[in-house]
Amino acid sequence: MAAMRARHKIRAPRRGVSHANTEDFDSIWTVLSSSLTEINTKNASTLAFEEIYRHAYKIVLMMRAPDLYEHVKQLEQDWLKTNVRTLIVDSISSSLVRAQKSTDAQDQSSERREAGEKFLTVLKDAWEDHQLGMGMVTDVLMYMDRMVTSRTHPPIYVACMALFRDHILRSPIRDGSPLTVMDVLESTILFMIQLERSGHIIERPLIRHCIQMLEGLYETATEEESSKLYLTEFEPAFLKTSKEFYQAEGQRLLEMGDAATFCRLATQRITEEEERCRYMLSVTTEPKVLEVLDEQLIRNNIEEVVNLEGTGVRRMLDHDQLDGLRNVYLLNKRVDKKNQALTKLVNTRIVEMGKEINASSILLPQVPAPSAEKNDKGDKKPEKGKDKEKPQNQQTVSAIRWVDDILSLKRKFDHIWEHAFTSDQGMQGSIGASFANFINMNSRNSEYLSLFFDENLKKGIKGKTESEVDVLLDNGITLLRYIKDKDLFETYYKKHLSRRLLMKRSVSMDAERQMISKMKMEVGNQFTQRIESMFKDMTISEDLTTNYKEHIARTGDPDHKPVDLEINVLTSTMWPMEIMASREGTAQLPCIFPREIDTLKQSFERFYLDKHSGRKLSWQASMGTGDLRATFVRPNGKVQRYELNVSTYAMVILLLFNDVPDGEGLTYDEIKTRTRIQDHDLIRNLQSLAVAPKTRVLKKDPMTKDVKPTDRFFFNHEFHSPFVKVRIGVVSGGANKVENQDQRKVTEQKMNDERNGTIEAAIVRIMKQRKTLTHSQLMTETLSQLSARFVPDVNMIKRRIESLIDREYLERVSEEPPTYGYVA
């Protein structure tokens, strides 16, 4: 063990060279300081790092580190003050100083620019040298740094950077001048940026370096992010000039008076600033300067731009300038998430255009108004040709055009919305609201829309593919979405649908079904319930017809020639009966059917009631049609046969003539008494039989266009038609068209009655569930329940509540606040 210890004696560390030749601080410092000066003059390659390091090490070992620190600082300070500063100050030409004072940058700009570039280059070089030199000094003094750095002494590098800040940047450019190098630097850079903004090319890397210098310098020795000179000194100045610039720029662009240009340039400015921040300044400035830009250039001006006369958004909308709109949208979006300025104008424009459409749909019918009115009063003119040219139908056409116009407007805005407004949700909502707004301004909207569907389901979808039909119906449904009074639409739709179904005018049942399922999705089950049951009735009736035919075949007496019967049994609550019943609303005596038909009728009644006892059948002759085989004897003895397809009434009238000897006629009154057809229907039917030129089966005396009670009618043996089958339409009866004023009033009345019922039902439903409710709560609930169908009038609801109280469904529970209770 002892031997071991002897062998492994710990060698005392040699105190080495340092102790051997006991150099004192001053002599070592002399060596060191000359080395540091060499470093400053970029002559480091002649010095050995190890040597300098060792010298510093020695001094620190002497416990003189703080002295060394101070000495080095002093050395660097002297160096900066004497050499570097002179260099920089010399590079500041007088033009830079002068420009400092004068605000107008444009004059002598090239001279100033040159001088500025020179100055910036010198400053940049000086900074880079200083940075490099200090890096080296720090390296060689690393040992000292490790010993000295503390709260009071920042690392030597930081200390030297601070020296640069204080003795270069913050030194006056001339003795006694208030301007510092920093001021000149700042104004020069700002001047350069100004040049770039006005379209000149400047040396970006140079400025980038100077900015980097400012970013590398801090106000305090602790080097917090927020105390960068860039942030404390340059950025505020930059933002200030930016603000001024964009204020002026906004004014200038606005004066140009072209919204598209404004937006294009503004967008360009935004990208410019983004780029500038990215490549020249600091990324941290980007949001700040953009905010300045947004504020000054956009927010302050956007409204004016949007509303610019002749070039603003209005014009862009009218001319589908998608790019322009997109720019406006994006700019507006920057400053206002809700895009109020733009939205407002778009909305007004939509409503304006919508009103135009509304107006033109009203205007048009007024042109043929005189004749149309005559028509309405039953004081009728003969029809020329087919339905299309009927003046009444012009109104229908205009209704359909109204829908088409709205759809195309909608398409236009959808397109704009998608391509220019980047499918913005808020925009979509407000565009929709505007559409709803003007659509609901047209009180006939429901009727028009229903007519549109009617027209398309009757004719429009012929020869179209399924997907085209789909699109068409979808379009219509979109409009339906906007219509407030959906119950009104339902009424019209039912009315039009019943005509289509009974008269077999519908082109495709598939399309009808599709339409209903679409409505169901859009408005809800309740809405389509009745419409669906109409379809059900039709199917049941088909079966019924077949069954009846079988029944007749089984039981029918062979000697009697059976008349084919195709019957539709309709549930009266589901179908819009009022259109089938008499218009005057009074109970009318059923028309007298001829014998053949009457037996048929009775036979069917027996058959039906046998199956479904307890039901009541009422015959709606006005909706039916009949096929007749008529024989015409020409004067030359030839016999010509035609198959006539006429309305039930016309059939009844024609059958009368079976019993009339040739050459004799019947007067209007005779016909009337023998058929008991209402005046209204009779006139129309006689008109189509005797007046319409192509289907003149009867002759009338005198040959006037109007039907008078005294007129006589004869069977027209000269009737001639190129076709064997002749369809005789009833004048202005069958086609679905716009209602006249009286009809509208009736419809509205009906509507109101129905609404009253619906409102009462809703109130009772709510109260049954809640037992007691305050007035206002009941109101809100009722409104929300009904809103899917229509927007009820508050007074209407109040009246319903009153009436329910009167009838003791509800009672007043308390007065303050008004509360109702449900009476079970």
Binding site: R14, G16, L47, A48, E50, Y57, Y143
Partner: protein, 102 residues
């Protein structure tokens, strides 16, 4: 001598003339040597890749270089074998560690 700023190896020289050629990466375990060799600061050491350590003898520099390699080999590992350090050298090595910022 070939310029060796980009060479993979550097030479460490002791005060009594012993030269040790070790990988640059290993030498840079020492903060001091790393800065010494930094080519951007234009010191001759950086340019030539040759560092003369006037403070230490061959024996110590050998141990220092051994440590550099040892350090690099076992960097970021746990459960590494201890390095053999002769007790008589430990004080001098401590000084060297301080000097070289290792």
């Amino acid at each position: 001598m070939a310029p060796s700023t980009d060479s993979e190896f550097v030479t460490i020289v002791s005060n009594d003339g012993f030269e040790f050629i070790i990988p640059r990466s290993a030498a840079c375990v020492s903060g001091t040597i790393r800065r010494m060799l930094d080519p951007s600061s234009k010191f001759p050491e950086g340019l030539t890749g040759r560092c003369v350590l006037e403070e230490f003898s061959g024996i110590v520099v050998e141990k220092i270089c051994e440590y550099f390699c040892y350090n690099e080999k076992h960097k970021d590992q746990v459960n590494v074998p201890d390095m053999d350090i002769p007790p008589e050298l430990c004080l001098e090595l401590l000084m060297a560690a301080d000097f070289l910022d290792t």
